[in-house]
């Protein structure tokens, strides 16, 4: 089975495709003029969706049903006209359970589309969440960057508001941040306000959730009710942004640690993907093929996986790929614009 990687960059979208994951065709830039914070191929119908942002023209979403040949822009997307808040950015698109799509954005907002991405309806319950006044923006804005659907539940994670779970399709939201540190707050274990950087639910074991946080790597085995901090034990630092899982083995996860919250580049000047195969009890460096010395950054949407491989893109414009397990890395393409996101889809 071939693969296509929608790679969102600061200067448009690139599509990397390969039949053997060894030689790659590069198409792009598509959506020129737009920073593509995230892009997906919807597995239900093959439509490309891209969260697109422009410093002059604002935040929107584009869709293409012909592999990027032509694009349509969302017709309706925004916050209430009479409110004080405005949509600052679109961050993440997630296919839903049925035919719907979900979209996360800044300032800590969630939208749903029931017409394939043409119009988007604000999730009023998250928008008016009683804890919102205790949320605050991280360095990248107050972004809803993680949306997960699993076992009848809907999860979102927002920086820096924390993680929330809905059992009723978004009509109510419960904070799920117990035992998750917010060391930058006066109370380091608040109900909300945690700076989640990426959150993923295991696709086969929906009770198991992982998150890379501003303050550590965490695993939950009870759908987010409680969390265990997992850093140390082989990880050079607790700080990083991206996270990937193994689609079958719930004990496997990957992170790319950064030096610190002040210094957003690879820890110890070593570009490496750290892998655990024991649920986070220990971590090992997988860096075969990666440069020994490198000071690069991989953003929160910059790491992807499927059943055959793992893929990441750097702010310096390289896309690296490895077979599942991450033992041996090869550079699929280099010198793209700064990479904001990587996803993987069957082709």
């Amino acid at each position: 089975m071939g693969v296509v990687l929608p790679v969102g960059t600061r200067k448009g979208l690139f599509l990397l495709s390969s039949a053997d994951r060894s030689s790659w065709d590069v198409e792009g830039p598509l959506l020129q003029g737009w920073a593509v914070y995230h892009a997906i191929v919807d597995p239900r119908d093959g439509t490309l969706h891209a969260a697109t942002n422009n410093p002059f023209y604002g935040a929107t979403v584009h869709r293409s049903s012909d592999q990027g040949e032509t694009w349509e822009r969302a017709e309706e997307l925004g916050l209430p006209e009479d409110g004080e808040l405005k949509l600052n950015a679109t961050w993440h698109i997630e296919p839903g359970r049925d035919s719907e799509l979900w979209l996360g954005g800044d300032p800590g907002v969630l939208f749903r589309s029931d017409d394939g991405g043409r119009t988007w309806q604000l999730n009023e319950e998250l928008f008016a969440h009683p804890t919102r006044e205790r949320w605050q923006p991280g360095a990248g804005g107050m972004c809803t960057h993680s949306i997960q659907l699993a076992d009848g539940a809907l999860y979102v994670a927002i920086s820096a508001a924390g993680a929330f779970r809905s059992e009723d399709d978004g009509r109510s939201w419960t904070p799920i941040n117990q035992d998750v540190a917010a060391e930058f707050m006066p109370d380091p274990y608040p109900e909300v306000g945690q700076c989640v950087h990426k959150l993923l639910v295991h696709p086969q074991h929906p009770e198991r959730i992982w998150q890379q946080n501003h303050c550590g790597v965490y695993r939950s085995d009870n759908r987010g009710d409680t969390w265990e901090r997992l850093d140390g034990n082989g990880l050079p630092t607790s700080f990083g942004f991206p996270l990937a899982l193994d689609p079958e083995d719930p004990d496997v996860a990957y992170v790319i640690p950064e030096q610190s919250q002040e210094h957003h580049y690879t820890a110890d000047g070593r570009l490496g993907v750290y892998r655990t195969s024991d649920g986070g009890a220990s971590w090992e460096l997988t860096a075969g093929g990666l440069p020994d010395r490198a000071w690069v950054a991989v953003l929160r949407e910059g790491l992807a996986f499927d059943g055959d491989g793992i893929y990441f893109g750097t702010q310096s414009g390289s896309v690296w790929t490895a077979p599942r397990g991450g033992a041996k890395w090869t550079e699929a393409v280099r010198d793209l614009p700064p990479i904001l996101s990587v996803e993987a889809a069957a082709a």
Binding site: G33, P55, F56, G58, E81
Partner: protein
Amino acid sequence: VAVVLLPAVLAVEAGGRKRFELDAATVGEALRQLPVRNLLFDEAGELRRLINVFVDGVDVRGGRLLEEPLRAESEVRVVGAVAGG
């Protein structure tokens, strides 16, 4: 009619058209007829901060920009603000 000229990114979003001929008495009336109006205006109906408008070569600024009257042959040019280094 007034002529409205769009920059490249907006022209793509307008279906490939960069030139529009519109009946409009003011700048705001002209811009709100464009198929890219939701890229020019935010959800509160305010012109986005980094969009400049030139009318007949003059950079129109300030709170009354959208009320700026147009003549029959006015040329309205939409320009992204020059910012940064």
